[in-house]
Every structure is written in C-alpha cells, then in structure tokens.
Symmetry: C2
Subunit: 319 residues, 2 copies
Amino acid sequence: MIAVFAGLRAHLARVEAIMGEALASPEPRVAAMIADIGPFHGKMLRPALVLLVAETLSGVHENHRRLGAALELIHSATLVHDDLIDDADTRRGQATAHTRFGNTTAVLLGDYLYTHAFHLVATMGDAACMARLTATTNVVCRGELHQQMAARDTGLTEGEYEAIIYAKTAALTELAGELGAIDGTPAERAAAAAYGRACGMAFQIVDDCLDFSGDAQKVGKTLATDVERGRLTLPLIRLLRNAPAAERPALAAKLTSATTPDEVAAVRKLVTASGCLQESLLRAREFVAEAHKQLLVLPAGPGRKKLEELADFIVVRDF
Amino acid sequence: MIAVFAGLRAHLARVEAIMGEALASPEPRVAAMIADIGPFHGKMLRPALVLLVAETLSGVHENHRRLGAALELIHSATLVHDDLIDDADTRRGQATAHTRFGNTTAVLLGDYLYTHAFHLVATMGDAACMARLTATTNVVCRGELHQQMAARDTGLTEGEYEAIIYAKTAALTELAGELGAIDGTPAERAAAAAYGRACGMAFQIVDDCLDFSGDAQKVGKTLATDVERGRLTLPLIRLLRNAPAAERPALAAKLTSATTPDEVAAVRKLVTASGCLQESLLRAREFVAEAHKQLLVLPAGPGRKKLEELADFIVVRDF
C-alpha cells in the first residue's frame, strides 16, 4: 500500500466492504464465482482521492465511502475488460479474470461490475450525482473506443493522445476529486476536480512509460501490451518527433506494427535507449505541478499535505 | 415489423431518434464507428411494451419514449456482448458487431451502450426510476453469468432454467411493463409488470425452441448456439425428463457436450424428432395465458387489445 494511504486504512476497509456488499448475489453459482475471484479492485487510488479530498474539506462521511466504492467498481469493470482485450495474464500479481474463468465469463463479469456500481449510486437517491457518474462513465467508454479506433494510426498527435488518456483515465479521477468535495464550495469542487484530473493525466503517462520500462514483477501486471496493440503512447510520439523527418515514416511503421515478441522487444529497446521516457516523465511532472497549483484553493492542513504527497508519488512510483 | 407495432410507427421512430442522440459522440473516430454500424436495436419489443401499456393507461408521453429507448439500448448492449460470446455472425440479418469491428471493439461497444443507456435515464432526474433500472440491469447481468456458470451441467432443473430466463430476459420486459404504467395506479403498475414478465418468459422459451427449429434466414440470426455452448434449455430438459431413467445419464452427457458441427446436428435432430419442442411451447402458452389474465386489471379498449395481440404473437412467431 502507498504510504499516503496508511491513514485511510479504516476508511478503505469500509470501501472494500461496501464493494463486497454491492456485488453479493442471491444466486449461489454466481455468488460462488464472485467469492472465488476475491476482492475486486485496483490500487484503490480513486476511493483514496475521494477520501483525502473529503478529509481536507468537510470530513469523511459514509456517502464518500459509497461513492469511492462505486468509482473503484467502475474502474474494476474497465480493468476486467481491458485485461481480456489485452490478453494480460496478471494484474496486481494475480491471475486475471479471463485467465481464470475464460473470456465469456470475463465479458459478463465486467458488465456485472458496471451495473452494480451504478446501482450502488442510484440507491443513494441523488439524481445530480448519478447524472455526473453516468456522464463520466460515458467519457471513459468513449476513451476506450477512441484508443481502439486510433490503434496503429502512425499519425496520432500528442493532442489526440492526451484527449484519449483524459477520457479513459483522468475523467474518472477528476470525478473522484469532485465527489470528495461534494459538500465544498463551488470553487473547492472545481479545484478538487482539476486536481483529480491532473493526477489522472500524470498517472496515465507514467503507466504508459512503465509499459516500456517497468519490471513486470514489481508492477504486478503484464507489460508491453500497448506496443502489441499498436497504441501510440507518449513515449512513441516523442520518439517519432525527435527522429529526423526523413526517417519518421519507416520508424512510425515499425512502432505501430510490432506483433511478434521479437518485434515488440525491438521497439522496447529503441524506446528505453532513447530519451523519450524521460521526456514523457517531464510532461507527467507538468501535470503534477498543475495538481499542486489547484491544491492552493483547498484549506491548508494535514489533509492537503497528503494530497500533495499523493501527487508527488505518482511520478516516482515504479509499480 | 410485427403487425401490432404498426400503430406505434411514429413513436418508435422517435425512440430510435432518442437512441441515436444518446449515442452521439463528440469524438470523430468514435462517431464514425457508431454511424457506420447503423441503428442499434433488436426487435424494439421492449419500447413497444412501454408504449402500448402507456397507451392503454395515461397516453404516451416523451418520458415513455425515453425510457423505452433506454431499455432497448440496454438490450442492445447485451446483444452485442452475447453475439461476441456466442460467436454469432448475424443478427436481424446483419453482420454482428464483433464480425465487423473485431472482438475488442465489440467488448468496448457493449460497455458504451450500457453507460449511455444509464445516462439517458439519469438525466431524467427521477432517482426512483433510476434505481429500478439499475436493479433490473443487475438482475440481467446476474442471469447472463448464471447461464454461463450453469453451462454443461447435466443436472440443471426446470426451476433453475426458469430462474435464468427470468433474470436474463423477463426482468427487463417486466420493467418495460412497469415503466409503461409509471403514471398508473399501484395495481395497474403491478399488473403491467406481471404482464411484461409473462411475455418475457414466453418469448425466451420460444427463442430457445427456435434455436433448434428455426430457419436462420427467417430468424435473422445464427442458430444452434445454445447447443454449442452446452446450455440446457427447456426442450433439452424435457427431452431428458421423457427419456427412460436408465438412458438419462448418457443422453444428458450427449446433449451438453456437443461442440463439433456433427455433434450439434445430431442433438438438433434428436430434439426436432421428439415432442419436446411442442411440450416447451405449451409451457410458453401458459405464460401467454398468465399475460392475458394480468391484462384484465388494465382498462379495456384498443390499447389493451393490442397488448393481447402482442402476447399471442409471441408463441406463433417463427422469427
């Protein structure tokens, strides 16, 4: 667990319990499968964001924990479907759902996670909050489709790359910040949302770098899937930009058409030998700086200090 | 189009327009894919149910059309994922999404349809209605998972089969009846829901029979997928029940383990040569009778007459 999460342990345990209750099924065969797969969550970054922002402002209420649980369930749904699509074997060091239960079950399980997340928020009775959640999940799904439709396009611009990572990742962390500030002033809500957004952008850029440079054991998931899927992420876009114009077309073709293990390894080698990972991390650091700037709107104190640490952690993590 | 839908043409056109607006994307690559795949819907049975019930009671309002559109989008999401899972090539005579755009896009497109359906209802601002929709979609996803976890189980009972088809099909038609009666009395709402539920049960049993006896051209979709997936549907359960006890274990193994085209064809032949399809249709007729009984609670008139025709149509359809 990340150090900054230590103070949240009791809250996060409750978030996990809410997720478990939300997924409970009266049907024994389904309940057995859900129990078998264990706790459904990623790094709990999204609930932590909700909770830390709430701590900084109004204090944490049960609604914050429920909203955090719903965001993590939606994130988990995307992970189950992403791992299936990427044919990734491991996630957080565990065998992924499709590896354990087959592709069919993984498709249906992802759907099950989505609808139960929505139901968790729908039963809170706050129509405006529900509309924000569904609007954001629309953006997430649009981002996933956008990434897929743009795969193997050698002309993908950095602007379009950032639009994709905003949609698929930062829209949900933006909402996490916003929902943490649900009892705050409009200015605090806007700043918390912008903080969440900047953190999400930085997080995804680092994730895209780790896909090349990470240690699969440490990161706990299958790596190099982006290259295999022909996704032009920031390191590749920068690598192309830095290449002499005459070499670009051939290089672009090479970067987006790798499918065999040898071809993928060759692209990884090219990337790690160049300075494009460091360059990409600089862009991530700009987003972290933006996150810090937004925090100035929130009241100073131990809560805000933790939010600062969380933002800093994003760019130094190697897992 | 089914005859009883003729009077709904204008309403259904509006439902289709609402679905199109709900799915519109500001992202050109995603918008192009959505436009390319054409109108997303099945037989429009669920919106028709909402509209016909509303016509019988309060008259049709824009909210009924929006709710009908949302139900059809949810149904479409399940179709996109089901067709992928069943590797079915055609649906309503058209190539299915995964056949045209690949498995990855089909997984993501199904998710996109789900979340946009929820958003459509979330923006109506009726928290109770949203909670009903999400609760029902939970049941639908549970039913899909239940069916999957029960596949190739030779001991599946008729009771468990009916629990599965209620969850995966009749829960949503039940909600369609209920939402059509959203402005009615509690008794009317309950009767309309029970009518929708009975129609859904009958519809799914007929669908399960058509998987054996249907003409793929007429039905407009890939057939015999249930046998290939090892799903014990009502015709097979009845076939087993009617077999001499001593032969049952070997027969059960044969029915649930067919995977090659020859094995699947052998099972189809066994089923169509026996009386189990006719027996299954009798069970569907019992549900149609139940649907008629529930209609007595609604005011008599041309609207109710159409609901009677719709229920009768379910068991005579061959597509």
